[in-house]
Symmetry: C2
Subunit: 318 residues, 2 copies
């Protein structure tokens, strides 16, 4: 059986060996994780949304020192000091930027004029078409099962991937519910050109998630996450004490202001980075139910890639 590297629209666009992308996640994916993933032939992403401008500069410097391969930065377009981040990304000659949470029209051309490829994260065909119209090089189609921030339509990967694929001409990267080679193959059967994997890489050795958060993911079962905070910004997280307070207030009909008071500030750092499992926000996908180990990122990449190829090559047995 052949386990070859893979050439398609995404590997060519990013100049990588395997159509696997590690999601850029706040408080989790710094230079250590991103460079380890890129060195494994996939695409690593630094999550800039939780970094002060100086912190991002340091991570860019270290990531470039740690890998010769392409890596990317994830940039939420609502980030307060976005112009400083943009300047750092261009200065460091980062080849690819993944943008999310905002309008891709505003910044796509700025990056592309600096020779940077731009990929926008969407949760519907409508937003995918808008990203294509804004000139984006590719889109990430993020399903309802994904961890962290998500859309309001609640469309799952099984429906979203073929819908987005049918709506746009640019390459489609599937995200949400993918942690194994079988799930990667299913996503590509549905029309994806590559997959973006978040939750599985939270439990990489190189991720900066707190060890207690990693252990909570290993312990998680089906039904232990929920898409919550739908009145403010929908986010999928583990059902801990913090979640329960928010959820009970929502069920009782709390207003947006009341919810924001309960939410407070710094909850994601408190939970994911500092390991406060009771009072912190623990953003993770449904696929956490299937994650049972902490491993080096390179091992995660090769396990997914090997299973993808084995299942693909034996599909005639179905």
């Amino acid at each position: 059986m052949e386990i070859s590297n893979h050439q398609n629209s995404i590997t060519q666009l990013f100049n990588i060996q395997k159509p696997i992308i590690q999601a850029g996640m706040i408080w989790v994916s710094g230079w250590r994780l991103a460079s380890a993933v890129s060195n494994a032939g996939a695409l690593g992403i630094i999550g800039a949304g939780s970094m002060y401008p100086d912190v991002l500069k340091l991570h860019l410097q270290r990531c470039k020192a740690a890998t010769q391969k392409p890596f990317a930065v994830n940039l939420p377009l609502l980030y307060p000091s976005i112009h400083e981040h943009i300047a750092s990304i261009i200065e460091a000659q980062v080849p690819i930027v993944f943008t999310s949470a905002g309008n891709p029209k505003t910044y796509t051309k700025i990056f592309q004029q600096a020779g940077i490829k731009v990929v926008h994260v969407v949760s519907s065909s409508t937003f995918a078409k808008k990203a294509e119209d804004a000139g984006c090089d590719a889109v990430v189609a993020e399903g309802f099962e994904a961890g962290g921030h998500n859309g309001r339509d609640e469309t799952t990967s099984m429906v979203l991937i073929p819908a987005v694929k049918a709506a746009v001409q640019i390459p489609v990267i599937a995200a949400g519910g993918i942690a194994t080679g079988k799930q990667m193959l299913a996503a590509m059967v549905l029309g994806a050109d590559a997959v973006q994997i978040g939750s599985r890489f939270v439990c990489a050795e190189e991720s900066s998630a707190h060890i207690r958060f990693k252990q909570a993911i290993i312990d998680a079962n089906e039904g232990d996450t929920l898409l919550s905070m739908k009145k403010t910004v929908p986010v999928r997280l583990l059902k801990n004490d913090f979640f329960k307070k928010i959820h009970e207030a929502e069920l009782a009909g709390a207003t947006v202001e009341e919810l924001q008071t309960i939410l407070g500030r710094g909850r994601a750092k408190q939970g994911m980075f500092e390991g406060d499992l009771e009072n912190g926000e623990l953003e993770i996908g449904q696929v956490s139910a299937m994650i049972n180990s902490i491993k080096p990122a390179a091992d995660i990449v090769s396990e997914i890639w090997d299973e993808f190829n084995v299942v693909k090559n034996n599909l005639h047995q179905l």
Copy 2:
């Protein structure tokens, strides 16, 4: 390219040609739809949950007259006159029963002693194991994206199918988000032995859904359904005026009693069978966004089956 019939654990268990099952749906799947699907080499199911005992008897009689092939009955275990339905099913020598919405322990053995195979519908690995322990012959793993009644864990097909497959030894039938051959193949890559398809067959010519409901499905886009009524019994439905009343009451913190008053009685019949698109309950899956035609059930079966085989046989190109 070979488009052969398919032998696996499910086709052998049910004695059918193609591992495609038409979901038994209230107000939609009577003898006409079930017999048309079974005559096409898949498994048709009569939805008994909306039928009075005499109506089910008539549908069984007509279905047996319309097809020589196996067909099944879907029986919600909370049905008020369940003993009359069970007697009719045994008397008519129906070879397979799909049970849902209740405990499979109570009735599985009664059917099996009469030579009837029993399949239970579940929304989690935990319930799948309980069904296996109760002696069921197979389970349907129904993802969050499915139409109609659903579980509280909100686990999507991308995660649920491999999780259930890993949890039980009996065959697994995937449901939720499946209307095309690609989606069928993705489900089988994830571990399913067959697929159960509901929404696509609502728009079969032979379904008894009102033509206005069929047209509403054709008109539906992404985000036009939502899993609602989570405080009572979660159900996925089209966002019409009836949905909005329920949803706004839920957001305002309405009690279960208040919601039941708004819900009233007979809403599913009013919407799906009588075509009241404003005040009726229109149960349908997320995949309604991808359904664009009304066709004979046999054409739906062959389109899905042909696409499944074409994509499977060309997967080396991925």
